[in-house]
């Protein structure tokens, strides 16, 4: 308890330290971790910051959103009829548009009733981790993974356990590990495909195996598809909902990545569950109930959604993926030039790649956090330390950046690594300047 020194008759104020639950939840925050790296930047450095730490390419001209999307939102905002509160599940026409969009790639129709609009995919994550928090329940989360799942689970008192993604198997899910972790209180497993942070896309076969595992365990699959269609390698994007017949699938998605507009805050939760199990078990009711006392997406952005979807042509997406593919190539090639960094899997999806740091090749660098802090300070390059995602001494690198800036940033990273390279006796590494 704190005493207020100002007033003589005031009692001690009856509130004190931050709630321990909240502090624990926040400690997993990726935003906080990346901001701490940003804090290390030398503001006097005239070079542009290479922001390779988080997935938000909206600032770059090459990733500008589709003009019809902006037009649709501007029109909706000016219409004067979309300034009201919307229903808890979302505007009917927007839910229908999402249902139709998802149904295009599924062997069954998704009903608009099975779609709930959210304020971005992060909000969808929050809702799921809240709705499933029955006493004693636990969820299975991937490692490395997106830390918000653990944060929100911690906050709602939902136990979480981590299963591994296997770097030697293109980051596939360790299904034996999943089966070993699950018990009678396990309610769901989360998968992310295309994957953040690993940059892989799961094959149809692997998704089927995941569904079979979930079915055997009697759990639902929460499929985080915020990076849907971000597949520019050999494996095409396959929605997990394709296997909704085998195990109930909750699909999370949004427009943030595909349209490059994370600031517009529009996402969805869809029950891609042809057997209607989620509905029977009242999970959908819970989702809508919680949405009713939680944040709403902006009404006119909801209203614009059918037009955003209808009016954006394939050429926009194809072009964005071309730039993304080019950036992924540059990233992979430049990383190969850096001795102390190894990339087990060439990124072919999402906006990220996980790369392993070989600390034995570096001098005076303690761990991944230290690496990122010093890299930011000395070279104005920001990367995300892997320990924030459950993989100590790894790095998560974003390639969804202007290709020239990306190349420049990775070149500076190379120089940094050379400068900090561990020199053994007779090692001429530092004297052979490769730049």
């Amino acid at each position: 308890m704190e005493l207020d020194c100002e007033g003589d008759e005031a009692s001690a104020w009856r509130f004190g330290a931050a709630s321990p639950v909240l502090t624990a939840a926040r400690s997993q925050s990726i935003r906080a971790m990346v901001y701490r790296v940003y804090d290390c930047l030398d503001r006097g450095d005239a070079r542009p910051v290479a922001p390779l730490g988080h997935g938000d390419p909206a600032a770059f001209a090459c990733f500008r959103t589709a003009p019809p999307a902006t037009d649709a939102v501007a029109a909706a905002a000016s219409s004067g009829v979309l300034n009201s509160y919307a229903p808890a599940a979302g505007l009917a026409e927007a839910c229908s548009a999402v249902a139709a969009l998802l149904s295009r790639e599924l062997p069954y129709e998704v009903s608009p009733r099975d779609v709930v609009l959210t304020a971005g995919c992060n909000h969808a994550v929050e809702i799921m981790m809240t709705v499933l928090a029955a006493p004693g329940a636990n969820v299975l989360l991937p490692r490395p993974g997106y830390p918000l799942y653990a944060s929100r689970a911690a906050l709602s008192g939902l136990e979480f356990r981590h299963f591994d993604l296997l770097p030697d198997k293109e980051w596939e899910v360790d299904l034996a590990g999943v089966a070993a972790l699950a018990d009678d209180n396990t309610v769901a497993m989360v998968i992310v495909s295309p994957n953040n942070p690993c940059g892989c896309v799961y094959s149809r076969h692997h998704l089927a195996q995941i569904a079979q595992t979930a079915r055997k365990l009697g759990i639902m699959v929460i499929s985080d598809e915020v990076y849907d269609h971000f597949a520019f390698g050999s494996k095409p994007f396959v929605p997990m909902g394709v296997f909704g017949e085998i195990a109930p699938v909750v699909t999370l998605g949004g427009i943030s990545k595909r349209w490059m507009v994370p600031g517009w805050r529009l996402g969805w939760i869809a029950a891609t569950d042809p057997n209607g199990i989620l509905r029977k078990k009242k999970v959908m009711d819970s989702i809508i109930d919680y949405r009713g006392i939680s944040v709403d997406p902006v009404t006119f952005v909801q209203g614009a959604l059918p037009h955003i979807i209808a009016n954006t042509d394939e050429a926009f997406f194809a072009n964005a993926m071309d730039v993304m593919r080019e950036a992924a190539e540059i990233c992979h090639e430049k990383l190969q030039e850096i001795e102390c960094i190894t990339c087990p899997h060439k990124p072919d999806g999402s906006m990220f790649v996980m790369a392993k740091l070989d600390l034995s090749r570096l001098d005076g660098i303690e761990d991944d956090v230290d690496f990122c802090s010093k890299l930011a300070k000395e070279e104005s390059v920001v990367m995300c330390p892997g320990s924030g995602l459950g993989m100590k001494n790894w790095l998560r690198i974003t390639f969804a950046v202007d290709p020239q800036l990306l190349e420049d940033g990775l070149e500076r990273t190379k120089r940094f690594c050379l400068r900090h390279a561990w020199q053994s006796q007779g090692d001429e590494l530092m004297n052979t300047s490769a730049s």
Partner: protein, 437 residues
């Protein structure tokens, strides 16, 4: 090999009991505390008529959202600001968790106009509407055994979020015979060592009252004496049209620290834009010292943000909106409050203890003894919606059973129509007079 296209080796439709998951049951009851949820039930039996074919329009007197009416349409300058921010292409990214700095600075300046001290940008935290501000406060305060003091009647969204976070809510009465002032003696009686804060809603929802400077001073003194802080829900700030002017609780921030909640939803009539704030009106820096600020930032870090381009539009929106727009809105509210007050006088089973002076609502008492076949306030509202297509909020939704919360923020002609239909309904359901005339 499974290809997932149809039934595999296992039976396709397992019985539901075989699946392990159950929803969090605490949630299933909380919708009853949301206006949206209760109105959903009220309107369940309502059949919308085809206005083109001569049917009657529904009259929405249950919620605080007049944005659909032309006389309440938001300022052109506000729409222009949003369109400009959107088209700039500079606001499509994620924003910082506390909100864009220029936006926070502009809100700090805007609110400081009515305070005896300057707020800084760092005192302002942007939220997705006032609703999220409430969510954040409740999450931040929650710890085992804590309780908050709320007025009765109340906007029960506060209770919904408090309970969701495991906090207890203790109620103190607002006194209808004293213009709905808080019973401060009761506040002192019910506070205990686990009480962390007291909620005050001014201008009042659901009561339509506006507190005097003197009363707010007493509220602050009470909080100080109890060692608790104040949550001031000021979402209806400046929407006053009677004798009392709006006084922000933050004026007394040096007596007891105040968390001020607000938004653009009501004053600019854009509840669908979802832009609000939590402001620490706390010149003595108590919130900083007691880690409340740190907790707010913790929660914001893992929560959704208001739309970036709407944040980006705020400085222009505040600067460019003309006084005439605000004056016009208040004029319409004054006019409709008058219409409501007068017409209600002519309905014998309804009593209005005090004329509304602010917000968009008035609380009225239902005399069920004059009516037949009406069980309670919920029954009254359901039948009214069904028979007359008029939607009113039953008092149980604000903790005051057998009262009604009536919204008067409508186009004047729609309001008159709605009140006429209300009167018809009451006459039709009146108990016949005993004895010969």
């Amino acid at each position: 090999m499974e290809n997932g296209a149809g039934a595999g080796a296992a039976a396709p439709a397992e019985a539901a009991a075989a699946w392990n998951f159950e929803p969090n049951v605490t949630l299933l009851g909380l919708t009853a505390l949301s206006v949206r949820g209760v109105l959903g039930r009220v309107m369940a039996g309502m059949v919308v008529e085809d206005c083109g074919a001569g049917g009657r329009p529904a009259v929405p007197m249950g919620h605080g959202d007049p944005s659909a009416f032309p006389c309440f349409r938001t300022a052109e300058e506000a729409v222009d600001a949003v369109a400009a921010a959107l088209r700039s292409g500079k606001h499509n990214s994620y924003a910082p968790c506390v909100g864009l700095k220029p936006t926070r600075r502009s809100i700090a300046r805007y609110l400081s106009r009515d305070l005896p001290y300057e707020l800084s940008a760092d005192d302002v935290y942007l939220t997705s509407g006032c609703s999220q501000a409430i969510e954040i406060i409740c999450s931040v305060l929650a710890r085992p055994g804590a309780n908050i003091l709320c007025p009765r009647p109340c906007y029960l969204f506060h209770e919904a979020r408090a309970r969701f976070n495991g906090m207890e809510v203790k109620y103190f009465d607002l006194l209808p015979e004293r213009g709905w002032e808080a019973d401060l003696d009761e506040v002192q009686a019910i506070a205990d060592k686990n009480t962390v804060a007291m909620l005050i809603i001014n201008p009042g929802n659901p009561c339509g009252n506006v507190y005097t400077y003197e009363h707010l001073a007493k509220v602050a003194e009470t909080a100080k004496k109890l060692g608790i802080f104040l949550i001031a829900d000021e979402v209806y700030a400046h929407l006053t049209f009677g004798q009392n002017k709006f006084v922000p609780m933050g004026v007394f921030g040096s007596v007891a620290p105040v968390l001020t909640l607000g938004s653009i939803s009501k004053r600019w009539v854009v509840p669908g834009w979802r832009l609000g704030w939590i402001v620490t009106s706390d010149p003595n820096g108590v919130f900083q010292r007691t880690k409340v600020v740190e907790s707010i930032k913790c929660y914001l870090d893992i929560s959704c943000d208001p739309v970036t381009f709407i944040q980006g539009a705020i400085p222009q929106l505040i600067e460019n909106t003309k006084e005439e727009f605000f004056e016009n809105t208040v004029d319409v509210l004054r006019q409709t409050a008058d219409i409501c007050w007068e017409k209600l006088k002519g309905i014998s089973c309804i009593t209005c203890p005090s004329k509304p002076e602010g917000s968009m609502f008035v609380m009225v008492k239902l005399d069920l003894s004059c009516l037949q076949g009406i069980k309670d306030d919920m029954d009254f509202c359901c039948k009214l919606a069904n028979e007359e297509l008029v939607v009113i909020l039953p008092g149980c939704a604000v903790g005051y059973k057998n009262w009604l919360r009536i919204t008067f923020a409508l186009e004047p002609s729609s309001l008159e129509d709605g009140l006429d239909r209300l009167k018809s309904f009451c006459l039709r359901h009146s108990k016949p007079k005993v004895g010969a005339a």
